[in-house]
Amino acid sequence: MKIIINAGIPLLVIGCLLLTGCKKETPTAVEFDMTFVVMDESGFMEALTEGNLVPNANVRIRSVEYGTEYSGVTDSAGVAIISKILADRYDVMVSRELSPEEVEQVTGSPQARLLSGQKTSVIYDGSKEEDTIYVNISQLGSFVISEVYYSGAPEAGYYFHDQFTEIYNNTEDTLHLDSILIAEAYKGYATDADYVHCRIVWQFPGDGTNYPVAPGEMKIVAQDGIDHREQAPLSIDLSNADFEYARPAHGDVDNPDVTNMIEILHDTRFDFNYSVFRDAIVIAKVDDVNTLEFDAGGNMLIPTEAVIDGVEWLDDVTDYSKKKLNAVIDAGATGNIPSYCGKSIERKRAGEEGGKIILQDNNNSAMDFDVLDSPLPWSIH
């Protein structure tokens, strides 16, 4: 009896282990193929091809949590198959460049345009194997922020006063910068789709026609319009900037040759400087800035309809929990550059038309911006 118990139990245990160890299958994660159908809502594709499926569109999906990306291109039937994706929550971004020839066929004038669309935060877990994404002609009706140099100069301690914002006229008409607002969004309100909560708001001077910008022309708004190479040899000369954020009463340097912006709302910061790590700015147009309301924290509320353009940058582009702008204004974020490295972010080209550069504007900084190794004021690379 004792022998059975003493020897039997260990034998039984070993036997069970052997049995379970015999399985040959190794555990796998749930991987599956996803089919994307891209359809055009604008009517453009229908006019071109008599169907609203979009061939040759770039489909990019990006994990919200981990930042992993997959991409594919739609075939002639407007279908892209992306294989072996992991079950996760994704942002989907679709874009299709329209060549000047294609556009001329439909509208009569040869200019490059862009069809784009997106879906944010969808769960793909294999239960559904197909999804349809709708694209539309992206807005080209106004100013865009074409470059932001925010990271600060290299090898100069913590020098970041050479920041500038470049604004570009992306249309075919002359526009005016008068009374347009530039504002910095405040953290914690990304879920509000109706308003942008802005901690700092500045305004271009002028009463309507004082500051014109020709099509394809760009203007620089500097934090300080001086030659920064004096303090930071690897920086740039902004003494010819078009505008500067100046608070001369507070001791901020003021270059008399550079037009000063008007301070509408400001906090305790010494000057209007962007964060070298992560920040978000918008440009907007309202009838009367004095009628805008405030939220509980003292931030000015700019209605989403009034926003012309926005850009957001993060130091860690995989962490969208730190985003400040709602997806309606900017569904993604660019950046991912170390601070004080002298790099800047610039909007990508969508194409060219008659010598004038057209810049992409999908309302998604992840899609629309590139990183430059050094700032390029007054030009697009």
Binding site: V253, G298, S321
Partner: protein
């Protein structure tokens, strides 16, 4: 008729008392076995109820004892209570009593582990002897937990959580207080008085503000400067203290350092962040008791950062003498402490920060205790303390390319353009603190009532005449906005004189049962300027002072319902004088740049700057007060002692710093350098901090203590300490302004609105379960402590009021909206609505932390101690609820696991080591 009868009977009683010429009881108490006297044995005349302490040679005396037959009781921890009855006292004669005490043997012997006398920790009195709520912590307990400073010792009190011992972080004492706001915490620690050998430490003249790093100015003293190894015992009075103690609100921590004759003992302590070495001893020199202590300690804050550490050297020497045949006991003590809080510049740190906080203190204390026979006893404490404070801060300033001014007076001049630079500044203080306390007391025993009277006076002068804030004006420290900054010497800051007079009567008697009633009153004068005797007649204050005149009565009543049950009730008022930097804060400079024109050519750059100076001195800044109410019930049931205390403390007039907007004007100066024709071209808002006296704190709670005597056969003492406290703090009539101005259409201008300040409420319930096991044959003492926090909640108060109280307009006018108009639509734009999440109560779950301490003897005179805090490394991570939806924030409620080792040996016994024979 009734009045006449009262007068006659009082006279009769008085004469009856006086007609008896009182006798005296004198004696000596010794240990039966060793013949040595226990230091500080309590001797009590049972029938009268008065007690006295025997001195270091075992001698005691009772004067003014009426003729009669008495029973004497002798009590000292570690010894059996000894009763000597039938002692006859005759009129005018002295009765001599000799008592011999027997060491108590209760289920295990009293013993030494190495150099630690474990007796006192094992055998606490189950019923408190005194009316005030006190906790006594002995040196054995202090060594067992391996405290590095007095800050670590306080974790043995109810309501204070165990934290990592060492010198890395600031340690302050906050008694009966749960964290609400920073100001309330500062007031709680500032109001706790720490007394070392009769002389209080003071933080009033600490002007180390605006130094860019953590400072104790305006809050309690940094307890890290008091080494724990030299402490004989600590008494913490959390309840209503006797009127002997003043200039405090929360409580008193009395520290008695070792000053008796003892063999030299060397201790060394090592744990992951701290190293400490201590050598202390005492010897007899020419008939006096001389004692010394040398202590060195170092804590590293972050091992990864080289050069970030806090070190301390503390030296102490004392000399005790008996003059005039023992009638005059004199102790002279000298202390020297030097702290180094250093952070060197790190080569890869782009912001080039470096700092240090070097401070040394030299202190002399004199204690005199004079026995003048029948006439009573005079006690005096005189001390002089000098502290040299020296802080340094260096940082790369890159706030902007800017224009600054080096002007030290108000006015206009050309400015200087600066960019990025390294700023270095020092804050140096020379703090003098002179203290004197003198009191006279006498015992008047009687048949029905006994009176123990005390009358005294107490004076303290503090001044800081150091060089102050020092830096190069063209490389100013980092500031914000237009706030300029200038150096400031402290010699324009006058000293402050605090004085008080106090009188107390401790009445003992019998009202069906024994009782003790302690009534006292203390008149405290802060910022003493003079006396106006004529004021007695014309109802004006007799004392002229600047910072508050407070009359503080204190009453403590102890009623012995039976031998095993007693009731204690108390009421008291206390007050605390303000710190110097609230009375004479640094003046604020504002540099408004009227014109600024940058140019590529540095010689062509031009700017005009106007400097405005705001002097924030408020010579009449008042101290603050606390009303205290307390009731306790103590019960002894067999081997268990239980004590339950309920208390309520109400603080009023506490100080805080309020941020107020100010309006400044920018001028255009068309005829520069002449100021003629200057016109206002713009209005700018900036901010200034002003000290205000409007913080109120409400603290109430319950404390329960359960202690057993050593359980036989288990050799274990079990104790449970429970503490419940709820604290609420708010600003009485306080207002808060926004950080930036905004344009309001309905008012037609830019304004900075303000609203009623919000407050905070918090609540905490915690228990400490402790098991102490003593195993004599092995020479081991093991303690297991379980700390449980059951409730830990807090929320904001006063966030329902969204209406504006007033606003500062661009013209510089401060407008207060009348109460009835606050809800009017005219002011709708300046209402403040709080986000929904602000209403959430942060309710933390139960958390436990287990800690173990072991002390084991190695050989005679030597022992090793080991401790481990949070042995299961339960960090109690808590995800906060009260955050903006979608974001998350976590806190670690428990420190990470921590352990340490300490070794000590008595040097005298080393030479008797049998191991020497090997060599």
């Amino acid at each position: 008729m009734k009045k006449l009868a009262t007068i006659i009977s009082s006279l009769l009683i008085a004469t009856a008392l006086y007609s008896q010429r009182p006798g005296r009881i004198k004696g000596i108490v010794l240990d039966l076995e060793t013949g040595k006297p226990p230091d500080g044995c309590i001797v009590k005349i049972v029938e009268i109820g008065t007690t006295t302490f025997a001195d270091t040679s075992g001698r005691f005396e009772f004067r003014n004892v009426p003729a009669g037959v008495y029973t004497l009781a002798f009590m000292f921890p570690g010894y059996s209570r000894t009763i000597i009855s039938n002692q006859v006292v005759e009129e005018g004669r002295t009765t001599f009593v000799e008592a011999q005490l027997l060491k108590e043997r209760a289920g295990g012997d009293v013993f030494f582990i190495g150099g630690i006398e474990v007796t006192s920790a094992r055998d606490k009195e189950l019923l408190p002897e005194e009316a005030e709520t006190k906790t006594r912590i002995t040196s054995a307990e202090i060594e067992h937990i391996q405290a590095s400073s007095l800050g670590d010792v306080l974790e043995l009190l109810p309501g204070i959580e165990i934290s990592t011992p060492g010198l890395r972080d600031l340690k302050q004492a906050k008694l009966r207080h749960t964290e609400t706001s920073v100001e309330a915490g500062n007031l709680a620690s500032f109001g706790t008085q720490v007394i070392i050998d009769g002389s209080p430490l003071s933080n009033i003249a600490n002007m180390q503000v605006d130094i860019g790093m953590m400072t104790t100015a305006g809050s309690g003293v940094d307890l890290r400067q008091i080494p724990a190894d030299n402490i004989e015992y600590v008494e913490v009075i959390r309840g209503i203290p006797s009127v002997k103690y003043g200039d405090l609100t929360s409580g008193v921590i009395k520290v008695h350092t070792k000053s008796n004759v003892r063999p030299p003992r060397l201790k060394y302590k090592n744990n992951p962040n701290t190293q400490e070495a201590n050598l202390g001893g005492g010897l007899k020199i020419f008939g006096s008791d001389a004692s010394y202590n040398v202590n060195w300690a170092k804590s590293i804050r972050d091992k990864r950062i080289e050069g970030d550490e806090f070190s301390r050297i503390a030296l102490q020497a004392s000399l005790k003498n008996r003059l005039f045949k023992g009638a005059w006991l004199v102790t002279n003590r000298l202390y020297y402490t030097r702290a180094f809080d250093e952070k060197d510049e790190d080569p890869i740190d782009r912001s080039r920060t470096a700092r240090y906080n070097r401070e040394w203190t030299l202190r002399y204390t004199h204690n005199s205790d004079i026995d003048i026979g029948d006439k009573g006893r005079i006690k005096g404490v005189a001390s002089a303390n000098y502290t040299k404070q020296n802080s340094f801060y260096q940082k790369l300033v890159s706030r902007d390319n800017a224009v600054i001014s080096d002007r030290m007076t108000e006015g206009t001049q050309e400015g200087t353009f600066v960019g990025v630079y390294i700023s270095k500044y020092w804050v140096k203080g020379d703090v003098w603190n002179i203290y004197l306390d003198l009191n006279w007391g006498n015992l008047y025993p009687g048949r029905i009532l006994s009176h123990n009277l005390m009358i005294g006076t107490n004076w303290r002068y503090e001044v800081n005449n150091g060089p102050g804030r020092i830096f190069d004006v063209l490389y100013p420290p980092p500031t914000s906005g237009m706030r300029g900054d200038r150096p400031r010497p402290y010699d324009d800051v006058p000293g402050i004189l605090l004085g008080s007079f106090y009188a107390e009567d401790e009445i003992s008697g019998r009202l069906w049962r024994d009782f003790t009633l302690n009534i006292g009153v203390r008149q405290e004068i802060y910022g003493f300027k003079g006396v106006n005797l004529g004021g007695i007649f014309n109802h004006n204050p007799v004392f002229i002072c600047n910072n508050g005149l407070f009359l503080n009565p204190r009453i403590n009543f102890l009623y012995r319902l039976s031998d095993n049950t007693q009731l204690r009730v108390g009421y008291g008022k206390s007050s605390k004088g303000p710190p110097l930097y609230n009375i004479y804060p640094n003046p604020r400079y504002f540099d408004v740049v009227d014109t600024s024109a940058w140019s590529l050519d540095p010689d062509e750059r031009f700017s005009i700057v106007t400097t405005y100076i705001y002097n924030r001195t408020n010579e009449r800044f008042k101290g603050y007060t606390q009303d205290k109410y307390e009731a306790s019930l103590d019960k002894r049931i067999g081997y268990v002692g239980l004590s339950l205390t309920a208390y309520y403390n109400r603080t009023k007039g506490g100080f805080t710093s309020q941020t107020t907007p100010v309006v400044l004007f920018q001028y255009s100066r068309p005829n520069w350098p002449s100021l003629e024709g200057s016109t206002v071209k713009d209005t700018i808002f900036s901010r200034i901090q002003k000290p205000m006296n409007w913080v109120s704190i409400d603290s109430k709670g319950l404390e329960a203590t359960l202690v057993t005597k050593e359980v036989p056969h288990l050799n274990t003492v079990f104790s449970l300490q429970g503490s419940y406290n709820t604290t609420s703090s708010w600003d009485e009539n306080g207002v808060t302004f926004t950080l930036s101005e905004r344009r309001v259409d309905s008012l037609g201008t830019e304004v900075v609105p303000c609203w009623k300040s919000t407050g905070k409420w918090s609540e905490k319930l915690m228990f400490d379960y402790k098991l102490d096991t003593f195993v004599e044959p092995l020479g081991v003492w093991i303690t297991l402590v379980g700390e449980q926090v059951v409730w830990d909640r807090d929320r904001y108060t006063g966030i329902d009021d969204s209406l504006a109280v007033g606003y500062l307009s661009k013209s510089g006018e401060m407008v207060y909206i009348p109460e009835e108009e606050r809800a009017s639509p005219k002011y709708k734009e300046i209402r403040r609505i709080y986000d929904d999440y602000k209403y959430i109560i942060e309710d933390r779950p139960i958390k436990w932390m287990w800690n173990v301490r072991i002390t084991k003897s190695l050989f005679k005179g030597s022992e090793v101690s080991f401790f481990a805090n949070n042995i299961f490394n339960d960090r109690a991570i808590y995800s906060l609820d009260r955050v903006y939806p979608g974001s998350s924030s976590h806190s670690y409620r428990n420190p990470s696991i921590y352990y340490g080792l300490e070794v000590s040996l008595i040097l005298e016994d080393i030479f008797n080591w049998p191991y020497w024979d090997i060599f």
